[in-house]
């Protein structure tokens, strides 16, 4: 069986029309067919969170979706976070400045997860950040600097949007 389907997806603002085998996961589609290898695959069964993307603004594990299910949807991967090739997003800056990554393997999933978290909750507590990233495994950092970076990013984002703090 080599069933295929035509799909139309928007990834990081670019529209793609592609033919995919129906059994290909969204993660493999992004990496192999679109060449967007920023989305990492750790466990491929929904435990590690490295492959997290935003589907219509909501975080999801791209290893647990079929590419054909993304037809008609809007996807953001780690490649789409920075405003342009020369500028980092404040979240990425905060990760760099606070050593929020070591080997970097888990980072794409953590960044996409935090984009959603900080959008929905611009002023999270440390505990809220820890619960928020509890679906993302990092084997290097012990999470300490990830949490520090996330809180720092929240502060930067609040400042940049001019939102007043309660």
């Amino acid at each position: 069986m080599s069933d295929t389907r035509q799909i139309a997806v928007t990834v990081n603002g670019t529209r793609y029309q592609e033919t995919v085998p129906v059994r290909v996961t969204l993660a493999d589609f992004l990496r192999h067919q679109l060449g967007l290898t920023g989305t990492h695959l750790g466990c491929e069964h929904g435990v590690c969170g490295a492959c997290t993307i935003l589907l219509d603004g909501r975080s999801a594990r791209s290893c647990l979706m079929l590419a054909v299910q993304a037809d008609g949807h809007d996807i953001l991967t780690v490649e789409g976070i920075a405003p342009n090739a020369d500028t980092l997003h404040p979240l990425q800056e905060a990760f760099r400045d606070n050593h929020g990554l070591q080997c970097g393997f888990c980072t794409p999933g953590i960044l996409t997860t935090l984009i959603e978290l900080l959008r929905d909750n611009p002023d999270p507590t440390e505990e809220e950040v820890r619960i928020g990233i509890s679906g993302n495994l990092c084997r290097c950092t012990g999470y300490q600097n990830i949490v520090i970076a996330a809180l720092d990013a929240a502060k930067r984002l609040r400042g940049s949007s001019g939102a007043s703090r309660p």
Binding site: S59, M65, E116, S134
Partner: protein
Amino acid sequence: MKPPPFSYHDPRTVADAVGLLTSLDNAKLLAGGQSLMPMLNMRYVLPDHVVDLNRVEGLSYITPRDGVLEIGAMTRQRDIEFSDVVAERCPLMAEAIRQVGHRQTRNRGTMGGSLCHLDPAAELVSVAAALDATVTVAGKSGTRQIDFAAFPVAYMTPAIEPDELLTAATFPCWPRGHGYAFVEFARRHGDFAIVSAAVLIEEDKNGKVTRASVTLGGMGPAPVRASEVERMLIGETIEEKRLRDICESLRKLDAIEDIHAPASYRQQLATVLPRRALIKAHERIQGARA
């Protein structure tokens, strides 16, 4: 390419989904994919056909009616988590849902998928048992209702025929002011519970228990209602020392053994978690009255 080869179907109506299930051999329903997709990636399941429910109309809703909450099978766990109606009418479910997986999995995972996958430690499965839920199942000859107590027939096996699909679950709501708590013990936040306790109580004005529901998850192939403890609680005042005696009887429940814990460990948790949950439920009643 991780999943095994299959043909893919994405019906738009329940009738079309039932039609596919009736005509296809070895078909598997795909809801939120948070259990089936890992099983496909690891090739634990080898379906010839995958019937994706994500484009079926009319299966995602939370509808309060007289004394009950009806939730559509494809309602995302995320939508339950953020529902004001669920928080108000069914606070036990609101508390339990936050312990289901993570944000990324709740964004996709569904009510119906969780109930049909029927993991013995799944929080929503325990909530359905605790609230005496009813599930609605659609087949080629129409729909039928199944009491949740009769829904699990074996380990991870619901009482659904191969040509049927679950369309909704109906949860009777307890009266305003009742006590509730969902307490679980898991290795990490978001993991399946090793053991969980779902508790609901009502008390009279003197603080005596008039109605109780105590459910243990993770002990066996399906959640266990601790009916003996429920009976013993009637007329009691919630108080730690007395609860220790009452909950001690739960140590004799059968328990599974696995890589996470031996049976004796689960039996110990079975005496501890309901006690903690009952105290929390009682404190909530008192808090609401204060």
